[in-house]
Symmetry: C2
Subunit: 347 residues, 2 copies
């Protein structure tokens, strides 16, 4: 029999950041699909929508009037999942039932006053203002005594639970380290302590050397499909030098980060010629007041589409109950993303 090779044979890959595995079934992409298809939303939106609660000057459900903002804008989420002002306490029973109050702050980050745009359709200098606002929020929220983690993220597209197409993201900042960042903290620290080196810095060096999963790079950042990707076209944007958190970026790096964010999402839109849905977020050092040389900031994109603008990968049964699973290889996905144009298909 032929030798094992991960382009053709089912296998598991290890994620050194989380300590978990992903099941890869490269041969499975050939399976026909007769299941649910998603709607394509290609309605042309107006630049300003009277009924949008994020557009400038509109009144929100709680009666507040939005400012006449000119570029980016942030405000406290009207339906925050985390609250600052709650009684603290905990509950415990027999070692099996355990609950703890959790304080936090949820913000909405509006990317542009233009209701009709998305990140891939914005200019790099406009996206840079989003990066600047992220840095400001990370710093201000993180400076609060009771905030130890700041999760910056974006849900794009209704298939990703986004209920308003106005370009925006969110920040959920809180007391404790959430599960996934906590795993990444643990594994980066373990690596740092045993090798006196940064896990993701070493990883990027290896990827740049191999050139098998790189999508593109600019002066300061690299975009790649991680070896251990779960979602079909999952990607990561990583800095070329070690950066624990976003406030450490130089002005030039912020612009380069915005450039990478735009180029990545333009490629995504071009993949199936649609406004490509995803959840994306930045993982970076906790805001616990300590130094974190073990941390390398990175932005992760988790897009659900698998075969076309309307057929997504369902993370269900086996994936929810047993193990992450994917149907195409990271290398195949990287090849396709690398080959795409960086000019938006809408022209």
């Amino acid at each position: 029999m032929a030798n094992f090779n991960f382009e053709d044979h089912p296998h598991r890959r290890y994620n050194p950041l989380t300590g978990e595995w992903v099941q890869v079934s490269p041969h499975r992409a050939k399976r026909p699909w007769q299941g649910q298809v998603e709607k394509i939303e290609e309605v042309k939106r107006p630049e300003h929508d009277e009924s949008c609660y994020l557009c400038a000057r509109n009144t929100r459900a709680n009666g507040e009037v939005n400012p006449d903002y000119q570029d980016v804008w942030s405000f406290d989420n009207d339906f925050a999942a985390l609250l600052e002002d709650i009684p603290t306490g905990s509950y415990e029973k027999g070692g099996l039932l355990k609950a703890e109050s959790e304080r936090g702050i949820c913000k909405v980050i509006v990317f542009s006053p233009r209701h009709d745009l998305t990140i891939p359709e914005m200019e790099v200098n406009e996206i840079s203002k989003v990066v600047d606002l992220w840095a400001k929020e990370y710093e201000e929220l993180g400076a609060k005594d009771f905030i130890n983690h700041v999760q910056i993220f974006e849900n794009k597209g209704s298939v990703m639970g986004c209920s308003n197409p106005h370009p925006h993201g969110q920040i959920w900042a809180q007391e404790t380290l959430p599960d996934l960042p906590a795993k990444k903290q643990e594994n980066q620290l373990k690596y740092f302590e045993s090798k006196n080196s940064n896990l993701l810095v070493d990883y990027v060096r290896m990827e740049l050397d191999m050139q098998e999963r790189i999508i593109f790079e600019n002066e300061h950042f690299v975009a790649l499909v991680p070896f251990w990707a779960i979602w079909p076209f999952e990607a990561m944007i990583l800095p070329k030098r070690q950066i624990s958190n976003i406030t450490e970026m130089t002005a030039a790096e912020r612009v380069a980060f915005a450039d990478a964010y735009k180029r990545m999402t333009v490629r995504y839109d071009n993949l199936f010629e649609c406004s490509f849905p995803y959840s994306a977020g930045i993982h970076q050092a906790p805001t616990d007041g300590k130094d974190h040389p073990e941390w390398q900031l990175h932005m992760t994109f988790l897009p659900p589409l698998l075969r076309s603008a309307t057929v997504k990968k369902f993370m269900v049964g086996y994936e929810l109950l047993a193990n992450a699973q994917r149907d195409i290889t990271a290398e195949g996905a990287a090849n396709r993303l690398r080959a795409l144009s960086e000019t938006h298909y809408k022209g």
Copy 2:
């Protein structure tokens, strides 16, 4: 300020089976929803569908003809994610890239020749045959040298990636323990070794005592919303005595298990008066040839719906990148499920 109580205040709950936390935001259910709504599929299906690849006597895409089965039937998945016959091997680079071949077998478990039925619409004696087939498959697959884990599951509804409404489930059996079962193995074993007692047996005793999260019970099984539930109406069916795996069930227990499966899914259908989608699966001891007194078999239901037949909970941004999060309490969900009738709304 009022004292902390988990009916009203945002908090985290610990899952002793996985060692992970869920963020609970009880106040958040009031949030309006303007996002994606799901289609309701209430087309009346025929008892036999010529174009269905699971109906008896039909020819599948690969040319095979289905047998004229009378109750349940299983066969090897035509598009298996795991394969038996692959070259084995592994790949490693710099401690950061790690891959290992993974052998396995994927089967389809057909619940009934009737194309138009679902579990809540089947009779308990018919569902018992499904349980018997699960036991037979667990035993036969598990007996193979290279199979150490047998994952039995069902994806129901197109929103859960099910591409054929003919009542069926799947089994993915494989060499290694998948991530979630591995965590449950680890935590149950730790508990067993430190307390000389079974984690879930103790947990069920506590829940029966408290009567806050119990949905219903029969002679041998309990259905409850676990304290640490993630999905809005997540539920678990657990035996009243310790059972490591399905082959240990007595004949009476198999019937009682079928009864619980039916009653749970009837309640689900009645919740929003629709064919209620979910992924469900059985977690039980590995098939590694060892004794597993630390294991308590349980069936978990992960249903996506939150507010109605058309509005689901999106597990996106924060949930994918940071931490599991829910908008209603486990106690509130249990109250609603407990209050429902066990007569199917279709009559």
